[in-house]
Each structure stands twice: as C-alpha cells, then as structure tokens.
Amino acid sequence: MTDSSATLKAVPIAFETRSLEIKRGQRSVIKGLNLKISMGRWYAIVGPNGAGKSSLLLALAGVLPFQGEILLFNQPLKQYAAQQRARRVAWLAQSSVQSADDLTAYDVVMLGRIPYQSWLNGQSQADHAAVEHALKLTHAWDWRNRALGTLSGGEKQRVLLARLLAVEADVLLMDEPLANLDPPHQADWIQLVHGLVAQGKTVVSVLHDVTLALYADDVVVMSNGQVQYTGKRDDTSLHSNIENVFEQRIAIQPLGSGWVALPKLV
C-alpha cells in the first residue's frame, strides 16, 4: 500500500491552501481553511451538508474565486494560465448538473481533451487514443456511440468519469463520483482510483458515504467551512472526529480489515 512508502520520505505537495476564504453570494462558505494535499495519494473529504466540501473542490479546480492562497505544485494557482491549469487539474461535477443529452458518450469524453486543442487544430491522434483509453478504463467503450440522454444514471456517471480521465491531469477532483453507481461499480471505481494513485496521480474526492470514504488513504473531515481533522483511515481519533461532525448520529465499527459507518437511531 502507499501508506508505508508515504511515511518513509517527504512527499511532494500537490495542493496547499493558506487561510482560504470563499464567499458564495453573501454567505461565507469557506472560512480560513488550511490544507495540504500530498501527491500520489487518494483523499476523501467528508462532512455534513453545507460544510463547504464542493466549494473547496471548485476553488481548487480554479472555477470559483477565492481569498487567501492556493498553491498548485508550489506555485500560486492564480499564476497558471487557464489552459495550463486545466491540463494539470481535472474536476468532475455532480452528475445531476450535466445535461449534454444530445452528445454521444465519445463526444462527451472528447470534451476532456479541450485543454490540448487550439482553436484551429482539430482532434489529434493523441486525443482519440486518450478518449479510447478512458472509455475502456471505465468500461463504457461499448456505448461510445450512444447519446448521453439514453444512458442510465450509472452508465452516464461512468461516461462522465471517463471524461475526467481523458484530461490526463495530475490531480483529479471528484464531487460525489459514486452517487449513481451500484456496489459492483463502486468497487470498480475504488480499484480504478488505486490504479491512478499507483501511477502517481492525486485523487481528491468528496464522498457522502463514510464507509466508502474510509477506503481512502487520507480522510479530511470538514464542517462549517473549515477542516476539523485530517487522518489516515485507521486513525481512531479520525473516527471520533467524523462521528462528531455528524452529531454522533453514526457509529464507525471495524469490519474485516476495514471500517463501516452505521447510522445510529435515537
């Protein structure tokens, strides 16, 4: 596992935020957030609704304006040209907001290649190769010619995931990537992420399912626009912090070699 290798030497930092502040409308959603994301690891962000998880991801993706500082590979995010940033950081929205129903799966995934295309150049051989590779990784190659609007929720999610992979970025940010997947495909996704991390990619995912989040290398606990705790998945004080932000309405129990989070009835 990556755990042991990570502790042996200093791991380079993919993202670092310093006193990050984000406002959406009048409301302050991120309030002085400090966080370091190491390269080559999988992070899961958990926390109650409205904790600012999605906003944090949007700011890291360069989509949302912010105060304070975000460093991407030790360089201020704001200094990156949009195209350069887009090649290094890919972001996946929650699937409900994406409505490209008329595009084929192949066309949707090809949109992930926009950071590599200029206005005059069309799609290169490398673009087509990346699209094919991404569609095969998510087992969506068979429906490449079907319109997105004709796919089920889970199928659509896998096409959108392939769109993210086609960017071939170093850092992958995913907002609720498992929301529409059934358990076998959730397991596929976790294996896919392990493979990406093994290639040196950094994955940051917002997950509302705590049990699935406890498969990640590191878990970031957020509430009220701040990071409450960051820890490895076996860290017991991580577990108590998670139980705290969910108002003691869940209990984290050992199961086999992992953990399971159960809702607590009162």
Partner: protein, 340 residues
C-alpha cells in the same frame, strides 16, 4: 447494465444524411418559390421565354425566395446558438428580446433619416442591418442584466418578455409619433419577405456564411457548456470572452434577418427543436442543420403565405407566428415542464 432505463429512442438517421435531405428540400422549395406568385403557379422555366415573366422572376421572385431561405437560415442558426449559449431549450432570438431590439434599431434609423425599409440601395440596407445588429446586441445584454445571468430559466424568460414588450412599445411609440414611417413599419412588424431585394440577399448570404463558420469554429464551447458552466471553466475555456463573441454572432444573425424581413417569430425556436427530434448531434452539426431547417421552414411558410389566398398574400410573419404558436403548444403538452 440493463438497457431498460433507456428514455429516448435511438435515431437511425445520421447528421450527413439529414443535411443532404434538408439541402435537397431547400432547393426544391427554392424552385417552387420561383414558380409561385400572384400571377399563378407555373413551372418557372416555361415562363423564362416571356420577357415580362422573366423580369418578374429575376427581380421579384428570385430575391424574395432566396431571401426567405437566407432569413430562415439566419434565424434557425440564431435559435440554435441561443439555446446552446443559454443552456435553455426555450431560448430564441425573440424570447431573449434581441428581435425587439433590432426593430427599435431599424425604427430609429427610419425616424432619423426618413428612409424606407423597402429601399433597395446598398448603403441603406447596410445601415439598417447595422442598426438592427446594435439594437439586438443591446437588447440581449439588457435581458441578461435584468435576469442576472443565464442560470435561472424562468427569470431569463421573464426578463426577455419584459425587454420585448418595452422595446416593442418603444417601436410603436416611434412609429406613432412619426406617421411618415407608419406604413413601412407596419410591413416590418408583420414580417414579410415581399420586399427583399438582391442587395439584401447578398448581405444575408455573407452574414450567413460568417455566422455559420464562426459558430462552427466555437461549437466546442457550446458542447462543453452542456456539461455545465463550471466544467467548461475547469477545462480552461475563457467563458466570459467566448460568451461575448457568441452573443455577437447571435445578434448579427438576428439583426441581419430582422433588418431585411422584419419580425418573423418562432423559426428560431422551432428549427433547432425539429433537428433535435430527428438527430442527436454535436453543435458543430446542430448549427448548420438548424440553419438549413430554418431556411426550409421559412421558405415553406413563404410559399404558403403567397399561395393560400392568392392573388392576395399573407405576411409570412403572421403565418409563422400562428404555426409556431401551435408548435409551441404541442411541445408544451408533449414534453411537460422544461427542466432547469
């Protein structure tokens, strides 16, 4: 995975096939347009032997038939652009207020210079087109600022209605206070292809080529926008600048069509819808296909307008409003409320 959740049927017709079909139909409509007139229906080639009839064909029927095709093409393109740009299936040049803006522009020019919209001179046509373009672009920005962006479907449509009504009232006021333009404005407000000249066709043709080419070049942006504004931004697209350029193309297409043929409603709304009902394609295909569909729709409506009560004729705008209104009602009943 099971395929049981398939909501929409797969289409067997492909985009290039539809394009060929639409081009063929447009050419047929063009030939039919040359043969139909207040002088009755006769194949146009039999008329060419008669010098008077030939003159009718070249000076009246050719420009107006070609004009209907080109104006429809511009409106269909504008509709597809608006729907992609605003991620809203109900966006069309009229609902966004751009057509009303264009007519204010035209009315202002007529009032200031005492011109007639049926004038055929080049510089007048260009001046009217320019004024319509400026009016259209100002109206779209007015609608967008009233709606505070494009996210909220209902607010966008309401803002478009408000801008349309207010600018329409302004146009009426201008024509009432300047009775000399009243008659020419009336033809304009009804929407008519009867006065389209050769120079107007040339302007529309050039604008049609420019708008289609630039629209297709930027079609990737419209595709990416379907995945959401944030996704488009995360892919490094400079959305703010691109949006201004796309609104510029939209306003140019609408303004040019409105300046030559007046207010012809619903072609811009219906054309992209009809294309989507037949094929599911990227915007690189949707834009030219919607444009061809718009051309076909308006030239068919023009044929009907000329033929229905011949030797009298209807204003084609009246006909498209009735047909388009019916289509919109059908859409309302068959698709339910649009998602936002």
């Amino acid at each position: 995975m099971s395929g049981s959740s398939t909501k929409l049927p797969r289409r067997s017709l492909r985009a290039p096939t539809l394009a060929c079909l639409l081009v063929t139909l447009c050419v047929t409509a063009l030939l039919a347009g040359l043969s139909v007139g207040s002088a009755g229906i006769e194949p146009f080639w039999t008329l060419l032997t008669d010098p008077v009839a030939a003159q009718i064909i070249f000076e009246i029927r050719v420009p107006r038939t070609l004009g209907a095709l080109l104006a429809g093409g511009l409106l269909g393109l504008a509709g597809a652009l608006a729907q992609g740009l605003f991620r809203n299936p109900l966006a069309d040049p009229f609902l966004l207020g751009s057509a009303s803006g264009a007519s204010v522009g035209v009315a202002l020019v007529l009032v200031s210079f005492g011109l007639s919209p049926v004038a055929t001179q080049w510089f007048i046509k260009l001046g009217l087109t320019g004024a319509a373009f400026l009016g259209a672009i100002l109206a779209v920005f007015l609608t967008l600022s009233l709606a505070r962006g494009v996210q909220h479907t209902l607010r966008l449509l309401l803002a478009g209605v408000i801008v349309g009504v207010v600018l329409g009232a302004l146009t009426s006021l201008l024509s009432l206070t300047h009775p000399d333009i009243l008659q020419s404005m009336q033809a304009f407000m009804l929407g008519s292809t009867a006065f389209v000249s050769g120079s107007a066709c040339a302007i529309m043709g050039v604008v049609w080529l420019v708008c289609n080419a630039s629209g297709i070049a930027l079609s990737r942006v419209l595709d990416a926008l379907a995945l959401g504004e944030a996704t488009a931004l995360s892919l490094g697209l400079p959305l703010n600048q691109l949006r201004v350029v796309l609104i510029g193309i939209l306003a140019l297409a609408t303004g040019t069509a409105v300046a030559q043929t007046g207010l012809i409603a619903f072609v811009g709304l219906a054309a992209p819808h009809l294309v989507r009902a037949i094929v599911r394609v990227r915007y690189a295909w949707l834009l030219p296909l919607a444009s061809l569909m718009g051309a076909l729709l308006l030239s068919l409506a023009d044929l009907l307008a000329r033929g229905l009560i011949a030797p009298q004729e209807l204003a084609v705008g009246v006909l498209t409003a009735i047909l388009g209104g019916g289509y919109l009602m059908w859409l309302m009943n068959h698709q339910g409320p649009t998602h936002d």
